[in-house]
């Protein structure tokens, strides 16, 4: 059964140095507050997993929390590049960042395999591209029935997956709706999971089309209103596009970023 914890306690208990950590949320419901709590608690040597590393991963990478990134698209959606990610890859700042690069289809299928308890997934993907030559976790496989050449990618099984949802009840059953991306698969694939929610309610009202994660597959729930900002939570608040645009200026410059980081962690410059 999921435990209801504060964000600080949940991250402290569930996320350890050296862990493989996935924060998922496809534009919508990105667990930004949880990512920033990982920075505050100064976790190190993490292998970060995420289909679309956006500004919260730029922040984690710039803060030096990550040793490796497994991803398929690393940008600031609609704005441009992630400058901390770029600086880490191009100049090893503040620490070197190893990358394991996939396509969205590959990453989605890796989570599906992880959630399914299978060692790998099969897809028709990557054919003709330069990605298999750079990424060891993309291998050819032949269909045993038709002889078709396909691609295999290994399961992703993070030590901990963190997602954000609209609501949970007091037992820790979680409900989310709108664009739900790959969150269900990412939670089911993980050894431990933390769900931050907009609100904890007495009873979850059934909603057509909602994804429900029963309490017995969730390790901890933390109530964090606004925990997805500047991304959005359908039914609660909209995407703060201006904040994404503003991050470009902060992320672009090491000094500006360091100022931002010191403010977040309470360090006096």
């Amino acid at each position: 059964m999921a435990e209801l914890l504060s964000l600080e306690e949940a991250v402290g208990r569930l996320v350890h140095d050296g862990d493989t950590v996935a924060l998922e949320g496809f534009t919508h419901l990105i667990p930004v507050a949880a990512g920033q709590e990982i920075i505050r608690q100064r976790r190190r040597d993490l292998t970060l997993v995420r289909m679309t590393p956006d500004i919260v991963y730029d922040q984690l990478i710039g803060a030096g929390c990550a040793r490796k990134l497994i991803f398929s698209w690393g940008g600031n959606p609609g704005v441009g590049s992630l400058h901390r990610f770029r600086d880490a890859v191009q100049h090893d700042w503040p620490v070197p960042l190893e990358i394991e690069e996939h396509s969205h289809a590959g990453m989605a299928n890796r989570y599906v395999a992880g959630a399914s308890g299978l060692p790998f997934a099969v897809l028709r993907g990557y054919t003709g591209t330069d990605l298999p030559a750079q990424t060891a976790t993309i291998k050819p496989i032949t269909c045993p029935f038709t002889g078709e050449k396909l691609t295999a990618v290994p399961a992703l099984n993070p030590d901990v997956t963190i997602v954000h949802a609209q609501r949970a009840d007091r037992s820790g059953n979680v409900q989310m709706w709108g664009i739900t991306g790959v969150q269900k698969e990412a939670v089911l694939a993980a050894k431990r999971s933390l769900v931050t929610v907009e609100e904890v309610v007495d009873e979850l009202e059934p909603r057509p089309g909602a994804v429900v994660l029963p309490a017995w597959v969730v390790t901890a729930v933390a109530e964090v209103p606004g925990g997805a900002k500047p991304s959005y939570a359908a039914g609660y608040y909209e995407r703060d596009n201006a904040a994404y645009q503003a991050w470009d200026e902060v992320g672009r410059d090491r000094e500006e970023f360091t100022k931002w980081l010191n403010e977040l962690t309470g360090v006096k410059a």
Binding site: F26, H28, G78, E101, A105, D130, E185, A234
Partner: protein
Amino acid sequence: MSAEYTADEMMSVAAARALGDGMSCFVGIGLPSKAANLARRAHAPNLTLIYESGCLGAKPSRLPLSIGDGELADTADAVISVPEVFNYWLQPGRIDVGFLGAAQLDKFGNINTTVIGSDYHDPKVRLPGAGGAPEIAASCGEVFIVLRQNPRAFVEKVDFVTSFGHGTGKGDREKLGLPGRGPTLVVTDLGLLRPDPETAELTLTELHPGVDLDRATAATGWKLKVAGDLKTTPAPTEQELTVLRDLEKASA
């Protein structure tokens, strides 16, 4: 007397015109999304827009900044999971057109959005990466590409093949068993390019009004081939410009 318009407006209008009513289109963010939404409003009300965030049949009233804006989900016929988009909808070849952008494009329509520079591990510029594009380029019935034309973007050979176009020439897609026809149209701010039926090399088939051939040649990093019957793109109509500008105003 036709209305005044910018080169970017001409590009969006020309890209939109390529999408016919009743088609289904897997839409990339940015220029492709603008063109696809213009098409739906201007001449193709039954164009189905599919965004990789899981929005199937999205009908946004303004242009989304990201592929997962709430507006896309709120107006969609269905919102499905990301594994479902790629596995059930894209992979079996259900989608007519993949509409993509590119950082670098070569003369055989191969796309690079990964790294600039020849060393993957020590790139000159690290770009965002693949996203959904490799499988969109492989599995859609055909692929349209929209980007501004200049010698940095239009290169003889891409530094990294993120998404496969026609490889090194005609027949490469068939050899690899790729299901879709690959890039059939490239729309730029200067004109239109299409693969030569014999060689699959991108060939200039249309220039936008007022653009001379020298400018298109100079903006291309390879020796640009020109179709024997080079045509001029019809200028944007008042209706197309009004719809485009209304869409941009609503999105500001």
